[in-house]
């Protein structure tokens, strides 16, 4: 047996070789065993997909997300049926946004005072800009949706205002692919109309920029609140689409209640909404889509009264007509840039133009805010014997929305929007009118810019650092008080953390 005498050098060598051996073993082990640690949420949790699969930037849908929605929240394989879900799975997502914002509104009429003998005494009023800023909170949404059975799905969205007062923003059940045809799908409940540019999935959050003005524009003094295509409506919808969703048509029959429950308004009056679109494959540019929509309906202008003039909820008669129609285009310019254009021509019956229609003054939750007899607080009611003023005519207008996105990556999106709503016929400017207004009275121009950055992208939750600025200009609606122009400009800057889980 040979005996080795261990010198210090050889001991060092042995230690080094042992360490090297250990390292040589560990390196492959670590390299082959390490896996990225990531987490998994409602639909995303169910299908194991990231939010970016369905959302251009959440909550705005991309084409695949639109198809998923059109299929009744199904990817159209056997994984759609609830049987594939873990029994403990409950598809609930909440969303709320803590924010800091600064709102600045020009030309607000304020009281003025002077000191008379040391006592503050009103001296009249003046016009000034009011700016306010501070930390704030959005409302809270609880989204819950999924399949009850293959091809039967639901959506339930209890939603609160920032004080925590809840209402049901969206509730429906839908039946899809009836007779195995993607052209036969129905839903019943309270839902968003089939707008290609969805307001409920808007990417902006400021007071004026968080809605599409084109979807809500009502001429000054007009009483028709029922043509707001951005509001969720109560009714039934038919939807049909081709398998790959390139072709889409829909038709909805809704109560003319602007989505308010309890038939306080909208009893016995209905509106129809129709939409259709066709998409085209344009190679590397992406899929381009053009379409149209139209809303036509009637709403009551006369409510039976009691107590000397308090309108009785649900008693509306004297239906008058209104319409909204326009074109939509969604254009993609490669993977990063897209532009959506929505146009609208709106027209209300002459009675609406004079303020009739919203006689109940609903509070949005089925109650009324009009509890005192006319003229104390109630909106105009077209009671028998009412006559139109001389020069009254049906108001009409045109609107357009341009919204563009630059999608730097699924985690970072830049947003720019311009909207313009222009009156083409004022309600009081007919022949012989005693009270004409400027032709641009009530016109709106607004732009919004911003960006949303998602610091992480998983299928578990969403967090967006949201930055936005909105500026809105309206012609002629400020207090005149001797001013040549009573145009009002409002600006808002908002920074927040928009998150859902």
């Amino acid at each position: 047996m040979r005996v080795f005498k261990c010198s210090r050098r050889s001991q060092v060598f042995r230690s080094a070789t042992s360490l090297l051996s250990l390292a040589l073993f560990l390196v492959p082990v670590v390299l082959t065993c390490s896996q990225p640690a990531n987490a998994l949420p409602a639909f995303a949790r169910k299908y194991g997909l990231r939010c970016s699969a369905c959302h251009e930037s959440w909550p705005m849908l991309n084409y695949f997300g639109q198809k998923f929605k059109d299929n009744g929240y199904q990817i159209m394989n056997d994984r759609d049926a609830p049987i594939w879900q873990n029994p403990g799975y409950w598809p609930v997502v909440f969303r709320i946004t803590p924010i800091w914002h600064r709102v600045s509104t020009g030309k607000v009429e304020v009281d003025t005072y002077s000191s008379v003998g040391g006592v503050p005494t009103p001296t009249g009023s003046a016009v000034q800009r009011i700016s306010s800023s501070g930390f704030d909170l959005s409302g809270l949404d609880f989204h819950t949706a999924g399949t009850l059975e293959k091809n039967i799905s639901f959506y339930l969205l209890p939603s609160s205002d920032p004080t925590g007062a809840f209402h049901f923003e969206q509730v429906f059940v839908r039946f899809d692919n009836i007779a195995r045809s993607p052209w036969l799908n129905f839903k019943l409940g309270r839902f968003e109309l089939d707008n290609l540019l969805s307001e409920k999935r808007i990417l902006t959050l400021t007071g004026n920029g968080g809605v599409y003005q084109t979807y809500h524009f009502i001429p000054q003094g007009d009483g028709n609140i029922f043509g707001q295509i951005g509001d969720n409506q109560l009714g039934i919808e038919y939807l049909g689409h081709s398998v790959n969703d390139r072709s889409r048509i829909s038709a909805s029959l809704v109560s003319s209640s602007d989505g308010n429950v309890n038939l306080s308004t909208g009893a016995n009056s209905y509106s129809g909404f129709f939409a259709g679109s066709q998409a085209f494959d344009t190679g590397r540019l992406g899929v381009q889509r053009i379409g149209f929509y139209a809303m036509a309906g009637e709403a009551a202008t006369y409510y039976l009264t009691t107590g000397g003039g308090i309108p009785i909820a649900g008693s509306g008669i004297g239906n008058k007509s209104y319409s909204r129609e326009g074109f939509v285009g969604q254009f993609y310019f490669g993977q990063h840039l897209d532009l959506t254009v929505v146009t609208q021509h709106g027209s209300d019956n002459v009675w609406f133009g004079q303020g009739y229609g919203n006689a109940i003054a609903t509070d949005g939750n089925g109650g009324t805010t009009c509890t005192a007899p006319i003229p104390n607080g109630c909106p105009p009611n077209n009671v028998p014997g009412t006559v139109l003023p001389v020069g009254a005519q049906a108001p009409s207008w045109n609107g357009v929305t341009f919204e563009g996105h630059y999608v730097y990556s699924p985690q970072l999106i830049f947003i720019g929007r311009y909207e313009a709503e222009k009156m083409s016929q004022q309600a009081n400017n007919g022949p012989g009118s005693l009270d004409p207004v400027a032709s641009n009275f009530g016109n709106i121009s607004t732009y919004t810019i911003g960006f949303r950055y998602n610091p992480f992208m998983t299928s578990r939750a969403g967090l967006a650092w949201h930055n936005e600025y909105n500026w809105l200009h309206q012609d002629g609606t400020g207090p005149s008080l001797g001013l040549a122009s009573a145009n009002v400009n409002t600006g808002e800057i908002l920074i927040g953390l928009d998150f859902d889980f």
Partner: protein
């Protein structure tokens, strides 16, 4: 003794390092991938470019298939079947013979068709160009595409008219090549071997159940079904029967398989009229 131990440690360590490229075949580096970023696909008159699919892959695919295409995305632990490991270059849905690479059209079709009974949706919302780009991107994950050419698609003869005789002949083929061993005598995926099946990576896998209304993974037209058993589903226990079934017999088998499916069909109606019984697994092959 200690010296010998050290020697063995060193030897084993060196062997482990040398084996690293083999053991981590499925763990190619970003560098490896970048060398293949010029990969192209050709579908009809469209040329797809891998580099143009990076954004779409990141947005739609990476969650399952992983950054390196190894099927190890963040959803890996939660989805079953597991996402495809593109680095292996082995694909179920091909028009090419077993063991060969698929043609670009096969991958192009798979993306749009999706995979029933899996978490792979129908990505039919892409433009054809985007899909072709994604095909090139999928190919760039595997070194197979740089050294190997795709197989030649098998020839599928025109579909003959379905007759009762053909359905009966299809039953004979079903018995002869022992489809029932996995798929069961009534196509209910309950054959004697069904519970023992694993894929090439050792994961449990179930045979296709013809009766539960789901669609075959690689398409549900008659031609698709023909293609499936004549090319096999590589990476799974479903072999190619190209050497065991003649083209004409293959159509007979397609017609017989249709009799199992829940959707109404001519074949189903004929089988009912014939009062066709399931094959008897215990009968000698000739009598089955």
């Amino acid at each position: 003794m200690r010296t010998r131990l050290r020697k063995w440690s060193l030897l084993l360590g060196a062997a482990a390092v040398l084996a690293l490229p083999l053991t981590s075949w499925a763990q190619l580096t970003q560098y490896d991938l970048e060398t293949r970023i010029g990969m192209e696909s050709h579908v009809g008159n469209i040329t797809g470019h891998a580099k143009d699919a990076k954004g779409d892959y990141r947005r739609y695919c990476v969650v399952c298939h992983g950054t390196l295409g190894d099927g190890n995305g963040e959803s890996f632990p939660w989805v079953d079947p597991k996402p495809r490991d593109f680095q292996l270059g082995i694909f179920k849905c091909r028009s090419t013979p077993t063991g060969t690479l698929p043609v670009d059209q096969d991958l192009f079709d798979t993306i749009a068709r999706g995979m029933d009974r899996s978490n792979m949706p129908q990505w039919s919302t892409f433009t054809k160009q985007e899909r072709a780009d994604l095909v090139a991107w999928v190919k760039h994950f595997s070194p197979r595409w740089t050294g190997e050419k795709p197989g030649t698609p098998i020839t599928i003869p025109p579909e003959p008219e379905v007759t009762p005789e053909r359905i009966k002949a299809g039953r004979d083929v079903f018995a002869r090549v022992q489809c029932w061993k996995c798929h069961g005598v009534q196509g209910m995926a309950n054959g004697p071997s069904a519970a023992t099946l694993t894929d090439d990576l050792g994961r449990t896998i179930q045979p296709f159940n013809f009766t539960d209304g789901s669609r075959p993974k690689c398409g549900d037209t008659d031609r698709d079904i023909y293609r499936i058993f004549m090319t096999g589903l590589d990476g799974t226990p479903m072999p190619s029967f190209a050497d065991n079934i003649k083209p004409d017999e293959a159509w007979d088998l397609v017609f017989y398989l249709r009799t199992f499916m829940s959707q109404p069909s001519k074949e189903k109606a004929m089988a009912k009229q014939l009062a066709l019984k399931p094959v008897d697994p215990n009968a000698p092959v000739a009598q089955q």
